[in-house]
Structures are given as C-alpha cells and as structure tokens.
C-alpha cells in the first residue's frame, strides 16, 4: 500500500485518500458563454497521459483537505 504525502499531515496510507482527477481544470468564468461542446469538454474531458500528471487528491480520512500532487501514471510514484 502506497504512502501519499499529505501537505498537512505528512505521509499516510493511500486508503486514507480520495482521488479527484486532473488538477488545474478551472471552472469557466462565464459558463453561459460556452458552446455545448466547450462546456462538455470542461465537464467530461480530462487528460490521461502516460507519465507525470498534476492531480487533485483529498485526504478524506484525515484532515479532509484537498491538495494538488504530481504523480507518474505509469509508475504511481509521486514527485517529491
């Protein structure tokens, strides 16, 4: 079982965490101005690279804070 570094609590076991998908996908400033396709891209589409990816994680069984971490999707290693 992997250890994940919570910025508030330190390294904890992965079962304490909740995965939130790709990080840095900002909520559109004016959703009404988007086309259906643009809106669907925001709601449904996320990057899925092989390699490093900035992701949202929540220490859901601990401090319950959300944070961003870079993880290699091929090796599962977090960038320290």
């Amino acid at each position: 079982m992997q250890l994940i570094d919570c910025p508030w609590c330190g390294p904890r076991e992965e079962v304490e965490f909740h995965y939130g998908g790709e990080a840095g996908v900002a909520y559109p400033a004016d959703p009404a101005a988007l086309s259906d396709e643009e809106w669907a891209r925001f709601v449904f589409h996320r990057a899925n690279p092989k390699g490093p990816l900035a992701e949202r994680w929540s220490h859901s069984a601990g401090c319950r804070r959300w944070f961003t971490a870079v993880r290699d999707t091929a090796t599962h290693r977090f960038r320290r």
Partner: protein, 927 residues
Amino acid sequence: MSRVDGYGTRIDRSRTLRFTFDGREYTGHAGDTLASALLANGVHRVSTSVDLGRPRGIVAAWSEDPSGLVQVEEPFPEPMLPATTIELTDGLVARGLPGRGRLAEVPDTARYDRKHTHCDVLVVGAGPAGLLAARTAARRGERVVLVDDRPAAGGSLLGTERICGRAALEFVADTLVELHANPDVVHLQRTTAFGHYDDGFVLALERRTDHLGADAPRNVSRQRVHRIRAARVVVATGAHERPIVVEDNDRPGIMLAGAARDLLHRHGVLAGREIVVFTSDDAAYDAAADLAKAGARVTLLDARDGVPAAGARRCAEQGVTVRTGAVVTGTRGTEHVTHAVVGGEELPCDLLLLSGGWNPVAHLVSHIRGTLAYDPALGAFRPGEPADDTAGDGVTAVGAANGTLDLAGCLAEGAGERAQPVERTPTKVLWRTDGDPTRQFVDLQRDATVADIARAVGAGMRSVEHVKRYTTIGTAHDQGKTSGVIASGITAELLGVPIESLGTTTFRPPYTPVAFAALAGRERGRLFDPARTTVLHPWHEDAGAVFEDVGQWKRPRYYPRPRETGGIEDMDAAVLRECAAVRGGVGILDGSTLGKIDVQGPDAGAFLDMIYTNVMSGLKPGKVRYGVMCGLDGMVIDDGTVLRIDPERFCVYTTTGGAAPILDHMEEWLQTEWPHLRVHLTSVTEQWATFPVVGPRSRDVIGAFAPDVDVSVEAFPFMSWLDTHVDGIPVRLARISFSGELAWEVSVDGWHARAVWERLVALGGQYGITPYGTETMHVLRAEKGYPIIGQDTDGTVTPQDLGMAWAVSRKKPDFLGKRSFSRSSNLDPLRKQLVGLLPLDPDLKLPEGAQVVELTDALPPPPVPMLGHVTSSYRSAALGRTFALALVKGGHARIGERLTVPVGGALVPVEVTGSVLVDPEGTRRDG
C-alpha cells in the same frame, strides 16, 4: 525407528509427545514437526496425489514441500497444511490429504488480531545473513524488526558450522541476546512475511499458539497479522533446493538432499539406510557425507564429470561411493522407492535424494515488481538491478536470497559488505533426465508432468505465464517454490530458446497460504461493519419494529402488530394500517438518520446559491426551503430542506445516504473552486434527533406538546420553524411535510431525544398516534410524487425530468449544473421523465425495476423498444389500489396514455398519470 543418537539440535528427547496419523498412534519429541515425527516412525507415505492417486511422501523440510499435505483434526480443525510446517503437539490428530481439504464444520472460536509496526529496517529471515543484517542495523541505532517463519532463529544453520571460531548455534544465541536487550529491536519467530507492497509495506503472519497445542491460552490470539511499514527491507529469506526431474520422481522416499540433511541434524532422523544421492551441485556432497557418518550406506551420483575436491574428500572419509557422469533416469517401487535406475543398472535404495542446485527465495523482491535475472552459474533467477524507480528502492536481498550460497558470503552480505568469491565446481544446470515425460513430475501437488508442459507448448503457449495457467504448475499451496524454475527451464528446452529469454513467472502474495480468519482479525460478525443506530433504537426494538439497513443505519421499516385472527401482521398489512393512521389521524417517524450540515459564515448564502438549483440566500431566518442539488452535468444528486438560522447560518438537511457524500461534495467545491468564500461546514447528523409528527391531528399533538407555541396556520405557517423550550428542553419545531399532510418535524439534541419522543407518543395517545417506519414513509411520499434520490433517480435524471422545474432558479447567473440544463440532450422531449402508473388491475402491484413498453397485446420480436422502467411501486391505503412511479421516455406528454409493463409472462396494461396521485391540490398541507 529412524531416530539416531547424537543428532537432533531442535528436539528434546526427554519429552515424548503422542499423536495420531491416519488413525494410528505414534510418538515423537518436542521440537519435531509432524513430518519429522512421521519419518522417525518410518512413515514415508503421507497421502495419495490429487488426480492420479499415486502414493506421495515428504519431499522438502519446510514450507516449500510440494507434496505432504495433511488435514489437521485436533486440536484445531484445519485443512491443507504441509506436514513439514506443523509443530508436533501432544494429542495432535491429522490425516493425509489427497489434494483437497475440508473446511471445519465447527465455528472457529480462536481470536485473530493485527498489529501495526513502523521501523527503519525490516529484516526478513533470521538465518546467518538476516541476523547479521539485524545486528548491524541495531548497532547503528536503527529501529529494527526481525521476522522469521521457523520456530527458532538460525535459518539454514544445522549446528555443525562454525562462525567466528565458535559453534554456529552459540553465535545465534549470543546475537539474539544482544538483539533482545535492545529496546528498538522487535524479534518475531514463527512469523512469515507473506506479502511485500509499495513503500516498504510488508504483511507478516505470526502463529502464536498453534505450537502450544491444547495448552494454548484462550486469551492469546491464535494468529496475528503484523502490518509493518519499513524504510528499508532486507530480504534474507535463503534459498530452496531445486530437484532434478526424473521418471517416477514422486514416490515416497524421494526427497531433496538438503531436506534429509536437515532432518538428521535438526530432528535426529535418518530417513534412509540405503541412500542414493543424485546431484549436479556441490552441496549434496555435504549431505551425503553427513548421512553416511550417521550410519547410512550412501552412493553419490554426480551428473558432472568433475567433482568438488573438498566434498569428494569428505565423502571418501565417510565411505560414500562417488560416481561421476552418472545420471538417474527412473525409480522403482510402489508404496516406497526401492531402486534408482542408472543407465541399465538398478541401484537398490530406500531413500533417493535429488539436488539440482539452489533457487534464491526472491519472492519478496518480486512482489513489489523487483526484477529477477537468470544467473547461469546458479541455474536460477536472482534479484537483479532495479529497472526504474517503480520498485526496489530500499529493498536489498542478502545471502542465499541473493544467490550467495556460502556461509562466509552470507555473513558478509548481512553485515552490508561484499561477499568474497568462493571456489565452486559450477552447478550443471539439469532440469530433467531422459525418460517417459508422462511420468516425470514437475509439480507433485498438481500431478503435472513434463508431458503437460509439452502439451502447452504444442498448443502454442510461448509465455511461462501461459504455460503456468495451462498446466497449473505452481498454482498449488506451495506456489511452485521448487517447481517454478524447473517449469521455465523445461519450457525453454522444449521451445529451443534460452531460459533468459523466457524469464520466470511473477511471484505474488501470499508467500504461504494465509487463513481468511487471520486477515479478518477482529472484524468478524458484529464487528465486520459498524451498525449505526439512532438514540431511539431500544424503543423501536421494544415496540417490535422490523429494521431495514439504510447504508450502515438500522431504521425501523414497519411496526407489525398482532392480528385479530392470531399471528402477527405482515409488512403489507402493517404498512396499510400505518398509512391510514397517518392520513386519518397522526403518526410519528424517527427521522434522525437524515443528514444535517451546519453551514456557517458571512458567505453561507452565496455558497448555497451555487450548490442548490434554487435561491437560498433570499431565505429569511425562521423560514425553510426545499432544494435540489445537481452535479456539473445537471443531474440530481440530492435533495432536502434548508433552514435559515440567522443571516450567517443555515442548517442543511440531506438524504440519509447523502449525509457524508454531500458534505464531501460541498467541501470539494468550497476548497477547490471557491476558497474565497468565508464558509465553514460541519456535520451535525449525530447531534440532532428529528421526529416528524404527521397527519391531520398533528396540530393537536404539537399544541399539547408545546403549549407556549401558537400552532395555528397563521402563526406557524408551512415551511417555517422556531426554537422553543419544553420543560426546559430546547426543541426545534419546523413545519415540513414529506407526505403532503399537516406535519411538524420535532428536533432535539440526542440526550433528550427519548424523553421527547415518549412525551409525543403519550400526548398523541388520545389521537391514536402511530409510530411508522420507512416503508410507510416511502408510500406516503410516493403518493405525493416526491422522489427518493437514488431510487427514482439514477444519476441521469434532471430536476426537469422529475417535474421540478419550479425548483430551478431562472434568476441566478450560475449554480452547479445550470449550464448543462441548456445542452441539447437536456432539452430532448424524449428524455425519461417521472410519471405515475396505475395498473388497470387495481390489485396488481408492479415489481420495481419492471420495464415499460408501448401498449401491446403481444410483444414484438426483440429487441423490444424500451420506454423506461418502474422506480417505485406500492399499495396505497388512500387510493384503495396499487400505484407506481416510473421513468418513461417523454412521460410528461404521455399522461392519459396507456402503456404495457411485461411482468413475468404477462403483459400488464397501465395508465400513465401525473406523479402526484394523492391531494394534487395540496389541500391537506395546512390541516
């Protein structure tokens, strides 16, 4: 008897133990294993094989034994244990197992538990390398955990060796004294590290009481799973001897050379008197010499042409006949081996020992995807260099586990130094000799032969992983500890490719079988999953409630009463009675499981405006509003009421199941998108108990309960709330209805919940107040068309689909889901929409989940176009008939139409109606 004097470092000859095997009584000594005690009694045949029924015996000396499985009956029933790993206890009863075990039929009353341990270094294996590794780390001041799966430390040491000029076992004892004196060292014997996972996480099973037999104390857990997190892991797990596959190599009396040597030195058992040793490796020379010295006549056949000088000298001293370039190609005997076939010659023997070299026990390296590389000098796979940063950081293999087979080298590597190269006659890699492949057994437990591998290769298998699955080699209890590499080697030979190009199968946890009871630990029965009960649970039990599980909650489903005709009401009868009581008088429900979230802060209103589809910021203190929450995709995720406490504080009610996920949902948006909003969220679900008091007589009950409160419709209108005190108890009253009836929700802190509930029940007595459960609640809400999120919705349903466009704000510039409502698919008039269904037969209750199709007398050939499905279906006391809610394509436009619901073989005609079937005008709301 095969016991010889002057040997047996592990047994106590002064203590005799009685045991029963296959119905016969025997004796052994303390320190014996079941296997050593059987062999001491001359019993070689342990069972018959799983498919072919061939006699089988003991092959190896410890957990790698592929052959001698037994079923233990006493003191603790357990199937499929290798006789080699069972420590003998007085009164042990066991029998040989032909491949398949039998689970105990009596409940397992033993305790199992787990323990978490953190350390700098975990050393697995307390042989010479492991002991040195543990001592070296401990002397550095590191926190050390040392685990070993055998009863005593020392690993492969037999007692004949010398370390630093002293007897090896004395060195072991001294090292343990030093380690035990160190408070930062944890040392566990009888503890198998069975799984190695990411970041130094190792699971180890400690067998704590089995070796005590009937004397095992009841207050000590039988087995314990240690969850060890180590910064570094030192794998010092030794090596397994590799047999050479020959024809009829499975007879009792054929074992590994090291196993026979082990039995002699540890248990004083000389397993044969007329011994043939067949080897292609140096180590067997020591075994041959030791066994000859103990009194056996030994012939050693070396497949190699050259012999190791030292080994040959020792053998000569003990009178061992050594023949080089000699190969065993078969055996004779039925119940026991009688001859080894060497060329055209048949050598008589009562013990045939095989030794083809040594396989490093690298399982714990392989578990975490560490690479294993083929070493041609060993004829085996050993830990290689870590390929990338995915595995192997912080993991070191030392000693025999690293392919270093000499004692000095093991000690050096354990101490963190480089082993000096030693003079060895190279092992001749010999997977098998000539013979009939259908009788050359590779995996004894699976009865799998060289012929099976040939069949797999003939069928086109090219990967050892495929061959493993096709032949089942390496899938038994021993997981191919002695057969795996041989299977790879023979596959490579048959394919005509080097073994390096094939590699070996991946080792996966567990290293040895682990009982589910141990993995479950204390989390069994009642402790498997927490059951949540409301503070009123004992009252409900006393009232005879039948409970249903709602998530982890136990909620009263209905309260059956005795029938006048005798017996007790069934659910249908109880629910009809409860429904009629509520709509005709007054009922009371324990709604304490509803999720409650305290939302506080200057921006609380703005926050809830983004979370809900309707406007919450405009709600006035003292007022209540129903709201719907959607995801970004515009689909309903929860609903409930919101009470405004003051300008900066709201109390949000969620569904019972939504309590935790909706709090998480709110936190996520608050933290990740709107950190500028000054809002705090706290779950108060457990702090409040909530009781809806429902029905036309509820005003009488609440008026009597809170005489200081004006409960008239003018003073206390629908969707308002207030705080008051009743006999000094703070109580919150809210006019909220989930049934369409006049109703109040009474909320009180948990400490006073029972007193308040009992008072309400007492005051309602004259009005026939009836406690009702979730089933009646569901019927009442369905009669009014109120959806249950998760039952009438499934994550593809919008508020508009539910007929709740009124709950979606047109004024707010944005909220979660808003933009999705205008997507073209959300505007499709053929979306599934919530409607009511009335079966034309008023007694017929549609099954929930039934499909809805166009009105028809006969189904068209499949695929039949589906219009939707029934989401809720009940028998209504108010309507005097059955009814259902359903999601139907374009349902709102179909009201008044007839459709068909196929139920079993029947085609049930139904009429589509609006979803509100009882009191659509809302006249009952104010009583």
